[in-house]
C-alpha cells in the first residue's frame, strides 16, 4: 500500500488512520513493526517531516536508514530510478520528499515496496494533511461545519492545497485569505467543489473574526517583484496579538511550520497557539500511516 496523494484515499480510510492515531496518542494502541526497516529519502530540506517519520518508525520498533542525496551516487550521475531500485533492496518502506512534482508517484511505478510521500514540489504532502485534520479533531473535537480560515500564500503552499481537499471531504466551511496574486488555483477549488460541494469564501483582507480555526502559512518575499510591496503585504498579513482581541475566544491557531515572522512570537505562549502540539501530533499520526502502508 502506498500513500502518495490525498486523492488516493477516501474518507473511510482517513477516519481509520485518524482514529488509530488517536488511540496511539492516548496509549490505547501500539504499532508493532519490529524487524522492518524504513528508508527516509529526502531530496529537499526538512526538519519535522523527516525527523517525525524517523521517530515514528523507531516507536513502532523499526530501524531507520537515512539517505543523504549530497553524499550519494546521485553526485556521480546515478538516476533517481536506479537509486530507488537500489534502496528498495535495503528497506521495507520508503518515505520520500522530492522537489519535482510527481516524483513519489514515479517511485511507486519503479519499485514494489510501499512508498509514502513526504512532499513532492508544489503538489502534495498527504501526511501533513492528515496531521492537520488530526490536529483540528484533537483541538476542536470535529471538522464538520467548523469555520476554518486558511491565510497566507495559498498559490504556492502544497500543504494548503492538500488541506482544502481534506476539509472539503469532511464538510468544513473554508475561508481562503491571501494577498492578491497569491490566491489558490481556481481549477483546484472547482475540483474540490465538484467532488464534495466545498463551502468556500475567498478574501484578500486578513479577517478571521468568525474563524474556529486559523491556519497560517508563510508568505515568501521572493514571490514579489517589488521588495517594498513584499514588506507591506507581509506586515499586513502578519498575525499580531492585538488582532486576536476580535477573534473567537476558543480560536485555534495552526501552522505547518517553519514559521518565520508571520505570527508574532508573543502569540506562541497564548492558549490559542497549537502549532507546536500540531508538530508533535506528527508522531502518532505517522505511526498510524506506517501501519497503514505496511499492513
Amino acid at each position: 500500500m502506498n500513500l502518495i496523494s490525498i486523492r488516493d484515499i477516501d474518507s473511510k480510510d482517513i477516519e481509520g488512520i485518524l482514529d488509530h492515531a488517536e488511540k496511539i496518542d492516548n496509549g490505547k494502541a501500539t504499532v508493532d513493526l519490529d524487524g522492518k526497516i524504513l528508508a527516509t529519502m529526502f531530496f529537499e530540506p526538512s526538519t519535522r517531516t523527516k525527523l517525525s517519520f524517523q521517530s515514528a518508525a523507531m516507536r513502532c520498533g523499526m530501524e531507520v536508514l537515512d539517505f543523504s542525496p549530497g553524499t550519494s551516487s546521485l553526485k556521480k550521475g546515478e538516476s533517481f530510478a536506479d537509486t530507488l531500485k537500489t534502496v528498495e533492496g535495503y528497506a521495507d518502506a520508503l518515505a520520500i520528499r522530492h522537489p519535482k512534482e510527481g516524483a513519489v508517484r514515479l517511485a511507486s511505478t519503479v519499485i514494489k515496496k510501499p512508498v509514502v510521500n513526504g512532499g513532492d514540489g508544489g503538489n502534495q504532502h498527504p501526511t501533513q494533511t492528515l496531521i492537520d485534520l488530526f490536529s483540528i479533531k484533537k483541538t476542536k473535537g470535529r471538522i464538520k461545519d467548523l469555520n476554518i480560515t486558511l491565510l497566507g500564500d495559498l498559490k504556492h503552499a502544497r500543504t494548503m492545497r492538500s488541506l482544502v481537499y481534506g476539509l472539503g471531504m469532511f464538510g468544513a466551511n473554508v475561508t481562503l485569505v491571501s494577498p492578491s496574486g497569491l490566491e489558490m488555483d481556481k481549477k483546484y477549488l472547482e475540483e474540490v467543489n465538484d467532488k464534495f460541494g466545498l463551502n468556500v469564501k475567498i478574501d484578500n483582507k486578513p479577517d478571521y473574526s468568525d474563524a474556529d480555526v486559523l491556519y497560517v502559512c508563510r508568505i515568501q518575499a521572493e514571490r514579489f517583484a517589488d521588495p517594498y510591496e513584499a514588506q507591506s503585504v507581509m506586515e499586513k498579513f502578519r498575525i499580531k496579538k492585538a488582532d486576536l482581541k476580535d477573534a473567537k475566544e476558543d480560536l485555534v491557531i495552526l501552522h505547518p511550520l517553519p514559521k518565520i515572522n508571520e505570527i508574532e512570537s508573543s502569540i506562541d505562549e497564548m492558549p490559542q497557539a497549537k502549532y507546536f502540539e500540531q508538530a508533535h501530533y506528527g508522531i502518532p499520526l505517522r505511526q498510524a500511516v506506517l501501519d497503514y502502508i505496511l499492513r
Binding site: S5, R7, S79, F80, A81, H98, P99, K100, E101, G102, A103, R105, L106, T109, D120, G121, G122, N123, Q124, K187, E191
Partner: protein, 143 residues
C-alpha cells in the same frame, strides 16, 4: 478552386480546425526529408460552414495512437485511410479517456520532464490530469 491530386496509398486528415493543419503534420512527424507527396491546405471553405484545414499524405497510414494525439488539438477531425486511390477506412478522431506514452506534461516541474517516465494522462470532463504531478491541462496543451 484549389485542386490537389488524389493519393495512391496514404491518409487524408479532413475537418482539421483552421490553422492546425501544420500541427497535424508535426504530430505525424512529417518533416523536411519525408520522401513522399504531402499537401497542406489551410482555411479551405467547409460545407458545414466556416473553414477547415486538410492534409493529404502519401505513403503514411495514420493509426489510432496518432489519431488520439490529433484529437487533442482538433477533436472532430476525420481520418481517411486511402488504399488504391480509394477510401479504405474512415473514422472521426475523439478525445481518448486515457493517454499513455503520448503527449508531454506542460508543467516544467513535473518529474516526467526530468526523469525517464511513461507519460500518462486521464481525461476529466474536457481536460486531462497528469498521472504524476496531478495538474489539470487543456487537451491542446499536451501537444
Amino acid at each position: 478552386m484549389l485542386k490537389v491530386d488524389t493519393i495512391e496509398m496514404g491518409t487524408v486528415v479532413d475537418h482539421i480546425k483552421p490553422g492546425k493543419g501544420y500541427k497535424v503534420l508535426e504530430i505525424l512527424n512529417i518533416v523536411e526529408d519525408y520522401p513522399h507527396r504531402v499537401a497542406l491546405m489551410m482555411h479551405v471553405p467547409s460545407k458545414q460552414g466556416g473553414t477547415k484545414d486538410i492534409v493529404k499524405i502519401e505513403g503514411k497510414i495514420v493509426d489510432k495512437s496518432a489519431a488520439d494525439i490529433i484529437a487533442l488539438i482538433s477533436p472532430g477531425s476525420t481520418i481517411n485511410i486511402i488504399k488504391g486511390e480509394k477510401v479504405a477506412d474512415k473514422f472521426k478522431v475523439e478525445l481518448p479517456d486515457e493517454l499513455e506514452n503520448a503527449g508531454k506534461c506542460p508543467n516544467p516541474n513535473c518529474i516526467t520532464n526530468s526523469e525517464k517516465a511513461t507519460n500518462k494522462f486521464k481525461k476529466e470532463s474536457e481536460s486531462y490530469r497528469c498521472y504524476y504531478c496531478e495538474r489539470i491541462f487543456k487537451a491542446e496543451e499536451l501537444v
